[in-house]
Subunit: 341 residues, 2 copies
């Protein structure tokens, strides 16, 4: 029902109109704080959501459950209504102009990953084994959707708290699979390619080596992963998590590595929750597109944007963010917020 | 004290660290709702702000007052502290890598335009003559800063309501003048150039002609100005206002045109306030950079982003916005919200 449209002036794409207009929380400030009896994501209330695509473990009571989004932004077979209506219009309007109002059907998949059968609000409320299942579900969905062949890119993301756009409190992630690669990823790939040609090294390897060497923006590191507050952080207390060694896709993680990845990511989220008082945040995973042959020097990475500062007119107009908290100071705060038993 | 920094992976610039860390409202949800006795922007309280750069009328009680921002994101002579510290660091870290952590001093100007001597919260609370002075101050500051020679681009913007990042309720606009042209503007200029070469016509002229012809995204029009909800609106109820005839800079508006411009813009804001119940919003003006010779086919335009939907993980990661309200529907609503005496 939705469609992708490109703004002729900026070149940016948007997803216009969708089932989401009907979702419960539209335009409402507070996220739904269902009691667990009423929460559509709690065990026992599975009938409130579409049937599961996959669940973990595969038999017995589930701990992580992947379902289609009930109010999808894109859909596998978009109803022709809006697209058709629009192309009729466009046809009627095109009078020899070279310049079009470009659009494409809102094709794709939109899924929800329910992170626990219990009514918890944070990944840090899960046991390490439970958290590992969440990240395993990320990997498995990426692998399945790659095999499926309809998407070129899958964006996995997480909205926590009303200020971060969450409409339901129960801990969950989402993924949107699309027939095209978003410009943000395309651009990172291009910059990684360029840096590789110029320096002979993967860009993120160079960045991480510099971050480890100076240490001043470093939050935590293990032999496998590094977390740091990026040099040009757009948001106060923004954190980037990446594998130490070049690894283009999150799909490459083995079962045996999931526990370590989950513990590291939850450690970082825990530091942020302690330092900032459980702020609203967005988390997302950048990983290689399915059809790219240019990813030998890309690193998957996870970005966390705490929503403690507001995005205002200057940011929207220039795309240059004003971040009052230097990442060196943010990293110092997050290093000090280590969990102590 | 602040500095511009470029993210090596995305190429995006941010303004890091600044006097703004000390401003009253940082991290606080509600905008300051001073009584007029305590409001730093009300007549009588001028000593609470830096001295005026200019005020209107130039003698007698002021109606519009332009002042330096007390908590500037950039400054004419940035203290060397952060920049120096950072370049020392960078020098120490550069070990033959081609890839730098790029930065530039946080040079620029950051001003506030107080839109009324009375404690009003919206441009629509002003008389037409008062509103005309606000837009005249926009134009005059652009002309002065062009003559001044230190900035290449001046971004004028307005934050209304806490959800739009406003820290003070009293109606005001801001401007930030910068030594470089933001990528968003650069990109529009490039796309306008390309369209001009391909079609022989200014891109915005083509867009506006198509919008007037179909009418379905049109909000209002006069012989001088057109307001429409853009084809690929990123935000629900987003509106774009532009002059009907090609005019690259807002500076070109004559005194005699200010009243018409102000009435038109206030009409659009009024429609939005009536239709959506005085929502938070951001407004900004795109106009030609000072040193560009490529602007013969650019149109200045004003964009209004009502903040009734939330920006979440998908938007931050892909820069592709999900807008549940098709602009055709938004325009219909805003057309119907015309002011009737």
């Amino acid at each position: 029902m939705s469609e992708f449209r490109q703004d002729p002036l900026s070149g940016r794409w948007a997803i216009i109109g969708s089932e989401r207009a009907g979702r419960p929380n539209e335009f409402v400030e507070q996220a739904m704080r269902y009691s667990s009896a009423a929460c559509p994501f709690c065990a026992g209330n599975e009938s409130a959501t579409p049937p599961a695509i996959v669940q973990y473990p595969s038999s017995g009571p589930w701990k992580v459950r992947v379902i289609p989004n009930k109010y999808p932004a894109v859909a596998p077979d978009p109803a022709p209504a809006l697209s058709q209506r629009v192309s009729d219009r466009t046809a009627g309007r095109a009078r020899g102009h070279l310049f079009p109002f470009a659009s494409a059907p809102g094709e794709g998949v939109h899924e929800v990953i329910v992170e626990s059968a219990r009514h918890v609000v944070s990944l840090t409320d899960l046991t390490p084994d439970e958290a590992a299942l969440v990240f395993r579900s990320y990997r498995d969905r990426l692998r399945s959707l790659r095999a499926d062949g309809r998407c070129r890119y899958v964006q996995i993301f997480k909205n926590v708290g009303p200020a971060a756009g969450a409409s339901i409190e129960h801990a969950h992630s989402q993924l949107i699979g699309m027939p095209q690669v978003p410009e943000t990823i395309e651009r990172e790939l291009q910059r990684c390619e360029l840096a590789q040609r110029q320096s002979g090294r993967p860009l993120l390897e160079t960045i991480l080596e510099a971050e480890v060497a100076t240490g001043e923006r470093l939050v935590a590191q293990t032999s496998d992963f590094i977390a740091h507050c990026p040099w040009a952080s757009r948001f106060a207390y923004q954190v980037s998590i990446a594998p130490r060694k070049q690894q283009a896709s999150f799909e490459a993680l083995e079962d045996s590595e999931m526990g370590k990845a989950a513990r590291f990511i939850c450690d970082i989220i825990g530091r942020m929750e302690r330092a900032l008082g459980r702020p609203a945040y967005n988390l997302f995973l950048y990983t290689e597109p399915f059809d790219s042959h240019r990813c030998d020097h890309y690193h998957w990475h996870i970005e966390i944007f705490p929503r403690v500062t507001k995005t205002a007119g200057f940011e929207w107009s220039t795309d240059c963010f004003i971040n009052p908290v230097p990442p060196e100071l943010a990293a110092e705060t997050l290093r000090a917020a280590e969990h102590v038993d």
